[in-house]
Assembly symmetry: C2
Homo-oligomer: 194 residues x 2
DNA sequence: GCAGTATTGGAGCAATCGCTCTAAGATGTC
DNA sequence: GACATCTTAGAGCGATTGCTCCAATACTGC
């Protein structure tokens, strides 16, 4: 069945995450990636059709990891989802740097392979549905103002403060949770939370 | 005294801001910049020693513009400074995209010219002093927790929600101010605000 | 051992980019 | 008009990068 593989796809993806987290998207050259895991550039292109496709997989993997935690908590409790952001960042510092400090558009330049586009749409849909269900549960009905309010409490506020720490190459301290809790309670309706 | 200049430094800086706001830092090539204002590449290097130096000037100009408004308001009132973020973004959408969607480290790769380093240190010092003065005024004394609390209310929360709009190429609506006010009041001590 | 195949290994190509360099054009001074 | 000076003008160089291509290698089934 042919030669046994010396590397795995995840070796390349993990190394790519580390390189981007350390030096930004510009640092991720194919040569740098290959050197990092002592692989030839041919092996990179044996697994990934292009640098863009590799970066797309990196990005999707990160989103999946984050969103998985986030949505699961969100189905139970909004505040828990807010704090899940903090928890995920502390558990995945390199991935968090990429997710919070860069945008997908600045990583990949070309079009994505169809299969990855499908995965991306799936993730978007999952998140959207979970958020809409949450808003209905907490506010009764979905309006632009309610949506903004919820996304701010769940997402913008935690990621906003966490971003500052990551930008300074620090992990956000546990005390950040207090600020997020106070913000959540101030902005979300009182009735159902807790 | 020699040939009359056809272009001004600000022509190049303004065009650079537009290009980065539209296409990210990667879109700002010297050729693209030159084409944009129908100038030869030689004229770019006649004014700026390098691409990095040009980007550094772009970045510093944006920071100066933002910080000028922010500090002036902060000296009077914290909530006003929070809302000043929102106001500045609505007035300077292209600059805001650069400031909020990218990091200085990802724009420039090399070392800055000494004169620009000096300006950058000056800006940092001004901001730091204004924030420290504000914290003393509002909390009585400066602790890590108080500092975090103040920066969250003044800076992380507004920029966090604004970032989402800019990322979708939208200008944040006025209703965002309500959320920021509620957050500010929830997180900052009650006594002095207002 | 031999054929077939999956993978490694890396030289090198084509394109792009930052930047240099030299010539030409325009303006002021005498 | 001669000269000095500042600026435009853009051809092209060196370096880097994504990617291709082909040979070598190691494994499986017979």
């Amino acid at each position: 069945m042919g030669r046994k593989a010396h590397f795995h796809n995840s070796d390349f993806l993990d190394a790519a995450i580390q390189i981007i987290a350390e030096g930004g998207p510009g640092a991720l050259t194919i040569a740098a990636l290959a050197v990092r895991i002592h692989a030839p550039v041919g092996s990179v292109y044996h697994r990934f059709p292009s640098r863009d496709a590799l970066l797309a997989e990196v990005w999707l993997g990160i989103i999946e990891s984050f969103q998985d935690d986030f949505i699961r908590k969100l189905e139970e409790d909004g505040l828990a989802a807010t704090l899940a952001c903090l928890h995920w960042v502390r558990q995945h510092p390199a991935e968090a740097r990429i997710l919070l400090l860069h945008r997908m558009q600045d990583l990949t330049t070309g079009r994505w392979p169809p299969e990855l586009q499908k995965r991306a749409r799936r993730l978007e849909k999952d998140l959207h549905e979970a958020v809409i269900a949450f808003i209905k549960r907490e506010f009764g009905k979905v309006t632009p103002e309610n949506t903004d309010r919820a996304i701010f409490a769940l997402y913008d506020a935690p990621l906003g403060i966490i971003r500052r720490y990551l930008s300074n190459s620090q992990v956000p301290p546990a005390t950040v949770a207090d600020l997020l809790r106070e913000t959540y309670n101030a902005v979300m309706p009182k009735a159902k939370s807790r």
